[in-house]
């Protein structure tokens, strides 16, 4: 009996240890550390990314000659009417107020400004969008006041011209049709400008003066959105693989980019912490193209696309180059003819090239189509819409951040083996808080000066960075490479034998016990119980001797 008992005790002890200590310890040691993320909130945000956004933009009406005490209310009614007619995917509205000198002065002190609609009495009705400040000037006549058309005219001007970008962009689900051309938004971008010569003869370009006169103003103005670092270089014996096309007669300018040597193009890339865009002026080799590149067409400059001062220079000129846009890389200008030894690209040549670059630059930076210089709008109209652009980029960043967070939560749901460290949770929560802060600012009608939009843009950039940091958490990605099968492979040799042994010993013990009891009932006197509680079966033929021997033993 005692053997049965002790075995039972030991089996039970091991099973208890196995289940109560071993299994929890094993589970604890092998389970993956996963913090919880606000998955439902992220999911609901992703379903309706701008559910809590109602952007309110303050505008101020200033009238110099007539005093209109209720113009703000009248214009507000008209603007509301116009905006209500629209199907707004991202809700937005304008808050019209009377011009406030104190507010404007305090803003000015901080080098900031609000959007002001200035009313000027004139002979006819008209409007001007200011080029150097965030201001809309509306000319009105007495008749428009008498017929009470002025509020509607102001409302129409503001909605359709001054806030054109919001008007056109915020009714779409996709803010920026992130074209294949553009690079992801980054507050800092490096520009590489190359002059490439297929030959080794010395050449030069008047790049410094042209950049300073024609590129610096743009660089300065877009600085709240994007800062550039620029370097220029001259490279010899490099025509981006153009010489390989020397014998192909059927090349067209359309497919030239696909035929340029992608290796040579990528070799020009500069590895930096922030995105790089490249602009290259390529001159073919005189050996490969003595008569010029056949598939480059000479063309008369379309002067309407150029800035006014360039117009004069090139109005009667023909260019012998074509500009090509390489998506997400930059722009290439391929010249038809090789460059002569000691050739110098003078200011006249460079100005047209730099302007072509500037236009392509806007495309590459993903500026909204409304700002493209090809829409008969020059850079000056872009200036006027700068704050609008900041807001659109902010909203776009919010969109991007929510998409990243959603992708993160979906990924973690799919990959249950992937650990989620505490840092990821912290970043996600911080980014959600930051998003709410941005939303608060966007929704607040009382703040809306240019500095606020700068601040919001910076915050949205930070938001994108935070979500990307959470997504690309090093620890999270690294640990995912240890699959569950590996753990099984390690533990199975240990757990397998132990489990099998425990189960079978338990079964054996139960069998023994039941068979022992059965024997006890069936065999009756044939079973003798010894002192050490062992049940022993005695064969029939040895009945006498065995009982004797057992008795002898004890």
């Amino acid at each position: 009996m005692s053997t049965y008992y002790s075995r039972k005790v030991s089996i039970l002890t091991i099973i208890v240890l196995y289940l109560l200590v071993g299994v929890p310890a094993w589970y604890k040691l092998t389970s993956i550390f996963r913090v919880k993320l606000p998955v439902h909130y992220i999911q609901s945000l992703n379903d309706n990314k701008f559910q809590d956004v109602h952007m309110v933009l303050p505008i101020f009406i200033k009238s110099t000659i007539y005093k209109f005490p209720d113009i703000d209310k009248a214009v507000q009614t008209q603007i509301n009417y116009l905006l209500d007619e629209q199907k707004q995917v991202i809700p937005w509205s304008l808050q019209v107020s009377q011009y406030d000198d104190e507010l404007m002065e305090s803003a000015k002190k901080h080098n900031s400004s609000y959007h002001v609609v200035e009313l000027i009495l004139d002979d006819a009705v008209g409007l001007v969008l200011s080029e150097d400040e965030d201001k809309t000037i509306i000319f009105f006549d007495d008749e428009s006041v008498i017929t009470n058309d002025l509020p509607y005219f102001i409302a129409q001007t503001v909605v359709e011209h001054a806030f054109k970008l919001e008007n056109e962009s915020l009714d779409k689900l996709v803010l920026f049709s992130r074209a294949i051309y553009s690079i992801p938004y980054s507050p800092k971008v490096h520009l590489n400008m190359f002059l490439l010569n297929g030959d080794g003869d010395p050449i030069s370009w008047e790049i410094d003066s042209v950049l300073k006169t024609h590129f610096t103003p743009m660089r300065d103005f877009v600085s709240p959105i994007v800062n550039f670092t620029v370097d220029t270089s001259i490279l010899y014996y490099n025509d981006l693989g153009l010489s390989s096309l020397a014998n192909t007669s059927n090349s067209t300018s359309e497919n030239i980019i696909s035929k340029l040597d992608s290796l040579s193009i990528t070799k020009l890339n500069d590895v930096r912490d922030y995105p790089t865009l490249n602009f290259a002026i390529v001159f073919p080799s005189k050996e490969s193209f003595p008569g010029g590149v056949s598939f480059i067409n000479t063309q008369t400059l379309d002067t309407s696309e150029k800035v006014s001062d360039v117009k004069k220079l090139h109005s009667h000129n023909r260019t012998s180059w074509e500009s090509f846009l390489i998506p997400k890389w930059g722009s290439v200008i391929v010249n038809k003819y090789p460059i002569e030894k000691n050739g110098v690209l003078n200011e006249e040549f460079m100005v047209s090239v730099i302007n072509a670059f500037s236009n392509n630059l806007l495309k590459l930076l993903g500026f909204p189509t409304a700002l493209k210089a090809t829409d008969n709008a020059t850079i000056s109209t872009f200036y006027n819409s700068l704050n609008s652009y900041k807001r659109i980029v902010t909203l776009s960043n919010m969109d991007k951040a929510v998409t990243t967070l959603h992708t993160l939560s979906t990924m973690l749901e799919r990959f249950q083996n992937m650990p989620v460290p505490q840092e990821v949770q912290d970043d996600v929560i911080r980014s959600l808080e930051l998003r709410l802060e941005i939303v608060d600012i966007l929704n607040n009608p009382e703040i809306g000066d240019s500095l606020t939009w700068n601040k919001v843009l910076v915050m949205s950039n930070e938001l994108v960075d935070l979500t990307e940091k959470a997504f690309f958490n090093q620890e999270m990605i690294q640990q995912n490479h240890v699959p569950r099968e590996h753990k099984l492979a390690v533990y199975l040799p240990l757990l397998g034998p132990l489990t099998v042994m425990i189960i079978f010993s338990l079964m054996n013990n139960i069998n023994e016990e039941t068979s022992g009891e059965a024997n006890k009932q069936d065999v009756g006197d044939e079973v003798s119980i010894t002192d050490n509680s062992e049940i022993e079966l005695i064969p029939e033929d040895k009945e006498d001797s065995s009982s004797t021997s057992i008795n002898e033993d004890h």
Partner: protein, 677 residues
């Protein structure tokens, strides 16, 4: 005379004058042409000779080295002009683009070729580039700030500007420089490094910590750029030299609050190969498409006895104008064994020399089966393209100075330049490549052992490891001064942290006068004037020993000290741990009268190596533990202790025999009952 008598007197004078002018006009070009002919060897035979290298060169026109003709003044250019003019009829230029006279960039290149003893040939390629001038300390983030690059490599510029590097030196050297027979190392050793890769730099920084951070960034970037293992340069390999490698001029400091830090590291076991040469060539504006760099092909450069690639970048500031520019000097030095290289180029798969080709020592017995070979043939004719596999592709076009090739050879050598099948020579053996055609250099001599005498090596230094069984090893350095004057020498040595040095054991082991064989009784203090020692810290800092030693004329001094080898962690051993650890070369700088720098060969230190059977041990140990656990639990759960009788009894009622018996009984009883029925 009859004719003259038939014409009037005045007319006769005119005719005579005309004749005189005519004759003069005829004679002058002839005399000029004669001068040309003297050097202008145009005969077809030379070409034939050069092509069939085995035929001995015999020129019918004698070579007169006294007359010097610039290649630019010869007919080559005239013919080139014609080619240009022919081409220009087809060539179309963009008329909108104007040209500017005197457009050139600050780039220079030259090739210096020196025959060495025993049929070796040293080729030294030099390149120098200056950057555009800039004002120091101006941020590139200003809206009006643009960086412009013309010929200076942007990649190098970025490294030095971003990290405030004032000087940067990289050396890739491999092979053996036979100083005994070849003399001094080119450029007095200042453009060669120790075996492997060597990097040192002068960095401007506010503190040592910041400087190290910048240094690490520089090393990592260069590692990627030159495909080297410089990314392994860390604090445990970085030294801060005290006197060696310190620039001998005022290095510009852009910010007065900062300091300059000199940092150095070397990787002795780094292989130098084409992946290091190609990035160097990419730094050049010619991209090895024109000029002397067209000769540089990895297969040929690294198939040599000694090769060294060096890059030196300096920031130079003009005090008057307060503008600075960066200066980059690149050098590629190659020593080839001419007969071997030509043979290998001709027959890449080595074939045994035929019986006729064998050069046997006729003073000894020789027949079809026995031959005592003669030493190398001193009579030689070859072209530069035989060694490098290709010809020089014209000159670089962007520099004001044409690419030049100079051969430093004795008068026993005939050196000519070949261009368009024509050969020219100059007295100085220097050639300016002003055309854009393929050029070659022709070498001919009857005595290749006649070389230009190079300056003797001022000091020989060698280093070796002494092993003993006690547990401590020793490192011995031998300085030999073969000159007539005492030499003051700066010795720099960096040893890995796992060599624990006992500086107290530093002694003058022996000092001998090599002329008389007399021994000096020198104490260590007698020879060393300064000693700077930075002790190693495990995995954080290497040992750094720097001392100044004076070696008397015609004497040998042997210094030695003892060290102990540390054990490394398992993961710190390289995959080929049994090969040993290469210890970088020591650097020896002779301070005067002419500065000379040389490096000792690297050392191989064998550390106690574990048996690297960790996975096996782990499996064994784990299995043992598992077996123990399994056995114990098994015993506890299943095993029973019984007497033999009990066991037999149980077996009798439950064993296989019993079961078989039972089955038999059952079957019998069934069949039995059936029978009865």
């Amino acid at each position: 005379m009859v004719i003259i008598s038939n014409i009037p007197h005045s007319s006769s004078i005119k005719v005579i004058l005309l004749c005189f002018i005519f004759i003069l006009g005829f004679l002058v070009p002839i005399s000029y042409a004669d001068e040309l002919v003297e050097t202008h060897i145009q005969n077809k035979e030379v070409e034939d000779v050069v092509k069939n290298n085995d035929v001995k060169y015999e020129s019918k026109t004698s070579f007169d080295p006294s007359s010097e003709i610039d290649v630019t003044d010869t007919s080559i250019l005239t013919s080139l002009d014609n080619i240009e003019s022919v081409k220009s009829t087809e060539q179309v230029w963009d008329t909108n683009i104007k040209t500017k006279d005197n457009l050139y960039y600050e780039f220079d290149e030259s090739l210096k070729i020196t025959p060495l003893k025993s049929n070796f040939l040293l080729s030294s390629f030099n390149f120098e580039i200056n950057s555009t001038k800039y004002e120091p300390g101006v941020s590139s983030n200003g809206f009006d700030e643009y960086s412009h690059y013309t010929v200076f490599p942007k990649s190098i510029n970025r490294i030095i500007r971003q990290n405030s590097v004032r000087e940067l030196h990289i050396r890739f050297t491999r092979g053996f420089w036979d100083a005994d027979s070849w003399g001094r190392i080119p450029y007095d050793g200042f453009k060669a490094g120790g075996s492997g890769v060597e990097l040192w730099s002068v960095i401007e920084a506010s503190s040592k910590k910041v400087a190290y951070k910048k240094w690490k960034y520089v090393a990592n970037t260069l590692s990627g750029m030159f495909c080297t293992s410089l990314n392994f340069v860390d604090a445990s390999k970085t030294t801060y030299p005290y006197k060696s490698f310190i620039p001998d001029y005022d290095v510009p400091l852009f910010d007065g609050k900062n300091q300059l830090f000199v940092m150095r590291a070397a990787l002795a076991n780094e292989n130098v190969c084409t992946e290091n040469l190609t990035p160097l060539l990419k730094l050049l504006p010619t991209k090895s498409r024109s000029g002397i760099s067209t000769l540089l092909d990895g297969h040929k450069v690294f198939d040599s006895y000694w090769h060294s690639l060096s890059i030196d970048v300096k920031t130079i500031c003009e005090e008057e104008s307060l503008v600075c520019y960066d200066n980059l000097k690149a050098n590629v030095g190659v020593v080839m064994h001419v007969p071997n290289t030509i043979q290998r180029n001709r027959n890449p798969i080595p074939k045994p020399v035929t019986g006729e080709g064998l050069r046997c020592d006729t003073s000894k017995y020789h027949d079809a089966y026995e031959c005592f070979p003669l030493p190398d043939n001193f009579e030689t004719i070859f072209l530069l393209s035989d060694l490098f596999g290709k010809k020089l592709q014209g000159s670089n076009l962007i520099s004001n100075n044409p690419s030049s090739v100079c051969v430093e050879a004795s008068k026993d050598w005939k050196i000519l330049i070949e261009s368009n099948g024509e050969f020219f020579g100059t007295q100085s053996n220097c050639f300016d490549l002003t055309n854009n055609d393929k050029n070659d250099i022709y070498f001919e001599t009857k005595n290749s052992s006649s070389i230009v005498r190079r300056d003797n090596v001022p000091l020989f230094v060698s280093r070796s490891i002494m092993s003993n069984s006690i547990g401590r090893d020793g490192l011995r350095t031998v300085f030999r001064n073969p000159t007539n004057s005492a030499k003051s020498v700066l010795y720099f040595e960096s040893l890995p942290w796992f060599m624990k040095i006992y500086l107290s054991t530093l002694i003058v082991e022996q000092a001998i006068d090599t002329t008389t064989g007399m021994k000096f009784d020198f104490d260590i203090k007698d020879v060393l004037s300064t000693l700077k020692y930075a002790a190693a810290s495990d995995r954080k800092r290497p040992n750094q020993i720097e001392y100044e030693i004076t070696i008397p004329p015609h004497s040998t001094i042997i210094l030695s000290y003892q060290f102990e080898k540390n054990l490394l962690k398992y993961s710190e051993y390289p995959p080929d741990a049994n090969h040993g650890f290469e210890i970088e070369s020591a650097v020896v700088t002779v301070k005067g009268p002419t500065k000379y720098q040389s490096r000792t060969s690297t050392l191989l230190l064998v550390l106690p190596t574990p048996d690297f059977s960790m996975p096996y041990n782990v499996i064994i140990l784990t299995s043992t533990i598992m077996g123990l656990i399994f056995g114990t639990v098994f015993n506890l759960l299943v095993k029973r202790v019984l007497t033999l009788e009990d066991a037999e009894r149980i077996r009798a009622v439950s064993g296989p025999k019993y079961k078989l018996k039972k089955l038999k009984e059952r079957l019998l009883s069934r069949f039995g009952t059936n029978k009865n029925a």
